[in-house]
């Protein structure tokens, strides 16, 4: 199959239906990013749709200097950030999610043999990260879970390197406090 550059060139030259192929190629990556910020699968689907529509609208701005996947990932992160800001406003109305038994059990135990699966870990982090601002959450998620560099985080959220480093440090401290509170519950 053709690479992204050739596919995008075809789309720019008047084959908009080929954008479906772009969606099929990159949907798993976009889902993986969005799922870090939203647990509900239907909502993730909506956010993925929003990401691809925004990518389509901004396609003229993609200059091909960086891989298309990186450019699309940045759009997905911004969609997630906007979503978190909307959700933050609604947070008081809808309340917070509750932890499952596995997650609670892991939080209470302190021995080295206690195991934690991905789902329970994501539940814990999701709940604790409600204490963070949306931008803090994006920074700590990109750094600690996605393994992104400071430069990549800067590009995604539009902040300077110093701002990202300071935010990451504060976000870690806040998250540790929030996790500490969960252990005591």
């Amino acid at each position: 199959m053709n690479d992204d550059a050739e596919l995008l060139e075809r789309i720019r030259n008047g084959a908009p239906d080929d954008f479906a192929e772009v969606v099929r190629r990159h949907q798993s990556r976009v889902f993986a990013i969005l799922h870090r910020y939203e647990r509900d699968a239907h909502m993730v689907e909506d956010l993925a749709q929003e990401t691809f529509v925004k990518a389509w609208r901004a396609l003229e701005q993609f200059d091909g200097r960086a891989p298309f996947e990186h450019w699309l990932s940045r759009i997905a992160v911004r969609v997630a950030l906007d979503h978190l800001r909307r959700e933050k406003r609604r947070q008081n109305e809808i309340g917070l999610p509750e932890l499952g038994e596995d997650a609670l059990d892991w939080l209470r135990r302190d021995d080295e043999k206690s195991e934690l699966d991905g789902r329970a870990a994501a539940e814990i982090l999701d709940l604790a990260m409600h204490e963070l601002s949306p931008a803090d959450r994006v920074v700590i998620t990109m750094q600690e879970i996605e393994g992104c560099s400071v430069k990549e985080i800067c590009a995604a959220i539009g902040a300077s390197g110093v701002a990202v480093r300071v935010r990451a440090m504060r976000a870690r401290a806040k998250l540790k406090r929030a996790l500490g509170k969960l252990v005591k519950v």
Binding site: R57, D117, G118
Partner: protein, 102 residues
């Protein structure tokens, strides 16, 4: 929470499998693009969007112009150069408001 648990927590979170996209996602995206009136080509940036993106620069430029004007007025007044308002008053007094005026 100690460092070991912190690392374990993030390592486990990294391994979580995201939900699979539905098979209709590509079709839904194309429909949304068409419904938005974008069937032909990606949209160009509108004038309003361009103004929005320029707004911070325009605001700064306006603030700088206002500050320069205030500084110039203050400087000229201090130097004894008659201001524009003073000139207008003088013209009014000499020409328009004299007994023999218009």
């Amino acid at each position: 929470m100690n460092e070991r648990k912190w690392k374990q927590l993030f390592a486990a979170a990294r391994n979580e499998t995201p939900p699979a996209p539905s098979e209709e996602l590509a079709a839904t995206v194309l429909r949304a693009i068409r419904d938005g009136g974008q069937a032909g080509r990606p949209e160009t940036i509108s004038m309003v969007d361009q103004l929005n993106s320029l707004f911070p620069r325009l605001a700064w430029a306006s603030a700088v112009i206002i500050a320069l004007s205030v500084a110039a007025d203050w400087g000229l007044t201090a130097a004894g150069v008659p201001g524009l308002g003073e000139g207008v008053s003088q013209i009014s007094a000499q020409w328009f408001l004299t007994p023999n005026g218009f």
